[in-house]
Amino acid sequence: MSATSMETSRYTWGADEHLVVQLSESMSLRANFQAMAIGSDLKAQNIAGITDIYPGNASFLVRFNPDEIDPYEVEKIVRAAEMRLADGAVRGIETRICEVPVWYNDPYTNETGSRFRDRHQAPDMTDLEFAAAQNNLPSVEAFIEAHAGAPWITSMLGFVAGLPWFFQMVPQERQLQVPKYVRPRTDTPKQTIGHGGCFSAIYSVRGAGGYQMFGITPVPIYDPENKLPDFAETMIFFRPGDIVKFRAIDEPEYRAIEAAVEARTYRYKQAPVSFVLEEYEASPDLYNEKLIGALNAS
């Protein structure tokens, strides 16, 4: 991760109910941390008339009720928060690392992919074959190894209820980049591991989607009925800043975890960690090993 200075932020209205601030056109961990910090700052201010504060990957959205607060007042408040939390003011976060088991190259996402080849850049390849080729990797296996190797950080939530975006914690030249589908699919299996641009995501529910599909996890990430122990206090598992390690599993393990989920006994493997941006940037691979060590010791 290069520590180049932030581009100038850009303020723009989403008509009369939204202010959108783009901190950076490109993705970086620093832009993401700044978005999260501004979001927390605004939330703590508890401003009447501001209904939603939504930090994104490298931007954030504020939704307000213009009957209760003047939009220009919202802009003033947001600019002040951005000034306070300029690049460099955010050093790290207290968070956790969680393991997500993934059956890569599974029949469910492959079947779905085969139904939408007319919307894909490379109709003769599978999504995984296309992704490997796009990243100059020799095989699908090599791509999966890179995807499941280094951990990812939850940089944004949304699209649909509880869907996390993940940004891989590797130097920019090792980031996996794949274009989104040319036209979005109308179907994606629930709990698909998808990827678009530099982001991976887990589809929390079945539905439309434009990300390339690499695999599927048997573990729910959205549980509106609070069936699993990890969802006792929330219907949404991931929070911004959560660090995630994917682990490749085979069909027998997928079925075994599926059964544990069905029996409501499955627990996420997770451990609390402190994430310090500068320490990570000084030596990403060593830092990641330390994080994964904390996970495996849990």
Binding site: G14, D16, V20, T51, A58, L61, M156
Partner: protein, 320 residues
């Protein structure tokens, strides 16, 4: 007094005025697509403006009242029947136990609202009774209604015999002007691209639901650029970001999609503007094929339009 669903229509869900504060985890506001019509239906039967009502798209349901009550239908223009006999919409009607409410073919507009005195008494989820389909929460058991469902109703005698004055009933047209505030990522459009967006008419496709309304007719051209890191390679791609409710995104530059009240909350397609809040009901009542022009206005014009829209809502609420 439960209401029994005999036939659900094409897509009938339970909606109030929606929830706030969960957009950052991907849960949109939801709530009635046509808020004015939902408020009108509630006010007619004697409810507060924000009670839960039925919202039916393109085709009305067939409902049976198990006890006497008061009902009102608003929204799309459609023949309304009680026990097969024509009944007026935009008026509150007394119904007896066993009475059946049904609909004919919609003649204009896309969604009808049915309020029952006492409100539809489904559980409140995250602050609202509104159904959010993608997340399978709210409404009746987190889903659209099915034949045989029995919907509980709150206790209220209700007020039959009320009628919204003619001039306060919106008329739905097959040709509409939708006001938008340009912005967000509109700098990605070339001059020709912007002109194609706002100078030429679009047609609403059949992909038009609570999540989004997709239009066709023109192609938008983008300014060529080297894509920023993380965005993806198509010129319509951006680094994934939150989407305003009402924003217009254009995947691949071909079919603009207006996100509506069940909006997907974020993603990687450039949005080129946002429908003003005062025109969201108008979009919501557009039926497929509706010829639509996007008319750019300033943020101050959008705020002025909202004040007028809120005045109309207030006037409605103050009728009784």
């Amino acid at each position: 007094m439960p209401v029994e669903i005999i036939e659900p229509g094409l897509a009938t869900s339970i909606q109030d005025l929606g929830r706030q504060g969960f957009y950052n985890v991907g849960i949109p506001p939801s709530g009635a697509v046509d808020r004015y019509a939902a408020i009108a239906a509630n006010i007619l039967v004697g409810n507060g403006p924000g009670e839960a009502v039925f919202e039916s798209t393109y085709m009305g349901p067939k409902l049976c009242f198990t006890e006497p009550g008061v009902v009102a239908v608003t929204g799309a223009q459609a023949p309304v029947f009680i026990n097969g006999t024509a009944a007026p919409s935009w008026e509150s009607l007394q119904v007896a136990a066993g009475d059946v409410l049904s609909f004919g073919i919609f003649t204009a507009g896309a969604r009808v609202y049915i309020a029952v005195a006492g409100g539809l008494n489904v559980p409140i989820v995250l602050g609202s009774r509104s159904h959010y389909a993608l997340g399978a929460i709210g409404g009746f058991e987190g889903r659209n209604l099915l034949a045989g469902d029995s919907i509980p109703i709150g206790q209220l005698a209700g007020t039959p015999g009320r009628a919204v004055p003619e001039d306060m009933r919106p008329v739905h047209s097959r040709e509409v002007d939708v006001r938008i505030v340009l912005g967000l990522y509109d700098f990605r459009l070339s001059e020709n691209g912007l002109s194609a967006l706002i100078d030429k008419p679009w047609q609403l496709t059949t992909v038009a639901d609570r999540i989004g309304f997709r239009y066709a007719g023109n192609t938008l051209e983008w300014v060529p650029r080297e894509q920023p890191f993380g965005a993806g390679s198509d010129p319509s791609n951006i680094t994934d970001a939150p989407y305003p409710v009402g924003s217009i995104q254009v995947p691949a530059g071909t079919e603009p999609i207006i996100l509506h009240r069940d909006a997907v909350s974020g993603g990687g397609y450039a949005q080129v503007g946002t429908v003003i809040s005062a025109d969201m009901d108008l979009v919501g009542q557009s039926s497929p094929g509706t010829k639509t022009k996007f008319r750019p206005v300033s943020i101050d014009e959008a705020l002025d339009a909202r004040r007028k829209y809120m005045d109309r809502q207030r006037k409605l609420i103050q009728l009784w």
